[in-house]
Symmetry: C2
Subunit: 202 residues, 2 copies
Amino acid sequence: MMQGTPPTTDPKLTTRQLRRQPRLIVNTGDGKGKSTAAFGMALRGWNQGWSIGVYQFVKSPNWRTGEKAAFAALDEVHRQTGQGGPVEWHAMGAGWTWLRATQDVDQTELARQGWERIKQQLAEQTHTLYVLDEFSYVLANGWLDVDEVLQTLAERPGTQHVVMTGRRMPQQVIDAADLVTEMTKLKHPFDTGAKGQAGIEW
Amino acid sequence: MMQGTPPTTDPKLTTRQLRRQPRLIVNTGDGKGKSTAAFGMALRGWNQGWSIGVYQFVKSPNWRTGEKAAFAALDEVHRQTGQGGPVEWHAMGAGWTWLRATQDVDQTELARQGWERIKQQLAEQTHTLYVLDEFSYVLANGWLDVDEVLQTLAERPGTQHVVMTGRRMPQQVIDAADLVTEMTKLKHPFDTGAKGQAGIEW
């Protein structure tokens, strides 16, 4: 920490309160591991008994099939034994899971409907951890207003953590975030013509 | 890919074979997400039905408690329903799980015993994915010979993927790896005096 930089944490808060500060977390960069790290963090949250909401802002319905299946299994463990927490998974790829007919809805509109749902859940404090996967894609495309997103997050009640992933996260989001990690590719097998593998790439 | 760089992949292999090449994967750097991304990848492997072996080369028995509990639950799901794959978790912190008495064994010796076990499992093709968490710590401290480790990995039979995590991974390992990602901290709440939180930091 630079000398002279005042801590942003209110010194009057107790340690217990300091341990319950809501976090805005960003995993960005061109390397692998942005989403996998977000899902790894969700594993920890699950074990804390947190309610977890995943919003997958990607088109392909085949992405994250492994993570989705594993979290569905963990959600089922929670239902049956009480261990861990519930997990709710929403994917834009095949239309959000709460929408009936999405054939006539374009991508921009789908992204907006996803965000409206997140806003509603934040207001109702539905989850303790929100994973907004590939959310930078939505922001970078201008489908949502970054200022409105950050304003909503700044005003979210209680202790609700939000993890956003994706390349080229807008600088405003990085400035507003509490924890930002950049994943950089040093070497990738595709560079030398290798093919993707189940279990590794998806 | 640079022009003129020949692909290292054997052109005579079929697509199916190319999709089954064993990978050596490294997550390094000073940022967060190295281990969480490795465990996120293990989620995908679990969903593929892979046998997963986790070797936790850290001292603190409290680390990764969330991931450990979640994977124990997934292992149980596999036993009860056949979904996913089995997960075996070994932690050096409280002594490796297969050792009875470890009070008299020092850290260096524990690390070596962990590696001997991995060598044995690689020879027997016990797992499809090995997560060697904080393995760079062991290598950087000189507790294991890097050349011997890389030689063993180069000669491992079948399709066994190995993910190593940790700061300051030796350059030889990076050179030998197929996929290397560096996690860099752009911003961290501890910088401004915030405290760690259950579910976020562990």
